[in-house]
Symmetry: C2
Subunit: 267 residues, 2 copies
C-alpha cells in the first residue's frame, strides 16, 4: 500500500484562482497507474488555488472556530469542483478513481462519541471508514480523498489539510510508503542554496521539525507543516518521500529503489 | 424542516447524456431560498442523465452485486460532476449549500457493525450523521446530498437512489414535509387521461402502491418506486407532495397552504 499526496501547488497554479494543471495531474496519474499494477495506491489531494485560495480569503484555519458560513460553503464547493477535475483525469488514466470526501472519514463534534487514539484530537477519525479505503484500493480501484473545510459542530468549522489526512491514514493503514509530491525537488537545506537534502533520519528530523518557528520556516522553504507531518509519519515507522510532482518519473523511480528528492528514513 | 428531492428528470434532460438544466435548478434554488428563510431545508438530488444514465449503461441496480468496477467508478464520478454543477447554482442563489455525499450517511458491509432499525436493511444508515445534517441546516446552511453508487464491501456495489435517501432521512429526521419535484404535474390517474390525482391518503396508497407490478406501473406513469417511497414516508406520519419542479411557484405555494400537484396526506 502506498499513500500519495498531490500537493496543491503541483496540481494547481497557486497564483491564479481556480487554475487546474490538468497535464501535470495526467502525467502523475499515468505514473500511479504503473505503481498500482503492483501495489494498491490511495491518493490525497490538496486545495491549491481552489479550496486553499478561498480558505485564505475567508481567514479559515485548522483550529475549529465560528468562521464565515459563506466561506465554509465556498471552500467546500470549490473542493468538489477540483475533485471533479482530478477524478476525470484519473479516470482517463484508467485508475478507476473512487471518490471519498474526508467527511466520510471523520466525525464532527456533534457526534455523541469520539475517537481519541493517536490522531490529532480535533480529528475524530473513524478507523473502519479508513480501513474501508484499503479494501477498496485492494479491490482494484484507487480511492481519492482531499483536504477540505469540515463541520465541527455548534456552528463551527475547520480546515482539515491533505497533509494531516496523510498522517491520519498512515497511522491507521501503515502503508509501505508515504509520498508527498511538491512543486520543488525536495526539502531544501536553505532557501539560498536551494540544495535538496537527499536523506534525513528520525533523529535529524527531531532537530529540524519545530512547527511555527519562523527561522525554521526559512530553512524549510515554507514547508514546516509538511515536515512536521512527515516526522510524525516517519516516527511511526513508515518511510516518507518528498518528490517533484512535475517529474513523474521520480514517483515511479521510488519503487525501483532509486529516488531524486528527500527521503525521510524511518529505519 | 423540509426535505426536497430534485428529480433527475427535472434537473437534467434524461434523453441527452450529461445535460444539466441549469436554469431549472436556478429557479428551484430561488424558491427554496424563500422557504429556507422560515424553515430549514435539506436537498436530495437524483442522477438523471449523469449517474442514472451510466448506471443503466453498466446494468447496475439497487441490489448489491459484483457490478463492473469501471461502471462503479464512472457512475460515482459523474455524480460528483452533477453535484458540483448543482452546488454552484445553489451558491448563486445564496443558499450556502453544504455538500454531503451519501457515503457519509451509510456504512458499507465492511463495517464491523450495522444498524438495522427501520431502514431498508442494505442501507446501514448512521443516525448521528443524518442528525448532523439537521444541525447544519438549522445553522443557516443548506445540506445537499444525492443518489449515488455505493461500496457494499467484498468488491460489491449498489445504487442508492435519491428516493430511498428521502425515506432514510424522513424516518430519522421526521421533517414537517417531504417534497418530490417531478418533470410532470403530479401522480396521474392514468397515462391516457394524464389527470393528476390531487390527494391520496394512506388507505388509498395501500391499494395503489404495489412495487414492480407492471399494471400499476402503467397507472402511475413509471413512478411505482416513487409512490412506494412516498407511501412509506406517509405511513410514518409525514405529509408528502409531488410537484412539478419546472414550476417553482408550486414549491413555495405548498407553504402557503395551497398546492398544485399530488398531496399524500398522512392524517
Amino acid at each position: 500500500m502506498i499513500l500519495i499526496k498531490f500537493g496543491g501547488s503541483v496540481i494547481t497554479d497557486k497564483s491564479v484562482p481556480l487554475s487546474f494543471r490538468k497535464e501535470t495531474v495526467h502525467v502523475m496519474g499515468e505514473a500511479i497507474r504503473v505503481l498500482s499494477e503492483s501495489e494498491p495506491v490511495i491518493i490525497i489531494h490538496g486545495g491549491g488555488s481552489f479550496g486553499h485560495y478561498y480558505s485564505v480569503q475567508y481567514d479559515m484555519h485548522t483550529a475549529p472556530r465560528h468562521y464565515s458560513l459563506d466561506g465554509f460553503s465556498i471552500v467546500r464547493n470549490s473542493m468538489v469542483r477540483l475533485n471533479n477535475l482530478i477524478l476525470d483525469v484519473l479516470s482517463q488514466c484508467e485508475l478507476r478513481p473512487y471518490c471519498c470526501p474526508p467527511s466520510v472519514l471523520v466525525y464532527s463534534n456533534d457526534a455523541p462519541y469520539h475517537n481519541n487514539n493517536n490522531i490529532p484530537n480535533i480529528h475524530n477519525t473513524i478507523p473502519e471508514r479508513v480501513r474501508e479505503l484499503q479494501t477498496i484500493a485492494e479491490s482494484g480501484m484507487c480511492p481519492v480523498t482531499y483536504g477540505d473545510a469540515m463541520w465541527h459542530g455548534s456552528g463551527m468549522s475547520y480546515i482539515l489539510s491533505g497533509d494531516v489526512i496523510m498522517e491520519m491514514l498512515s497511522s491507521i493503514l501503515r502503508p509501505r510508503l508515504a509520498v508527498f509530491t511538491l512543486n520543488v525537488d525536495g526539502l531544501y537545506e536553505s532557501m539560498e542554496t536551494k540544495k535538496v537534502i537527499p536523506r534525513m533520519d528520525t533523529r535529524e528530523l527531531a532537530d529540524i521539525a519545530i512547527p511555527n518557528n519562523p527561522q525554521q520556516n526559512d530553512v524549510t522553504g515554507g514547508m514546516v507543516r509538511k515536515v512536521s507531518v512527515a516526522t510524525e509519519i516517519c516516527n511511526g515507522g513508515i518511510d516518507v518521500f518528498f518528490v517533484n510532482g512535475n517529474k513523474p518519473d521520480r514517483i515511479t523511480d521510488i519503487l525501483r529503489g532509486r529516488y531524486t528528492g528527500t527521503y525521510f528514513s524511518s529505519g
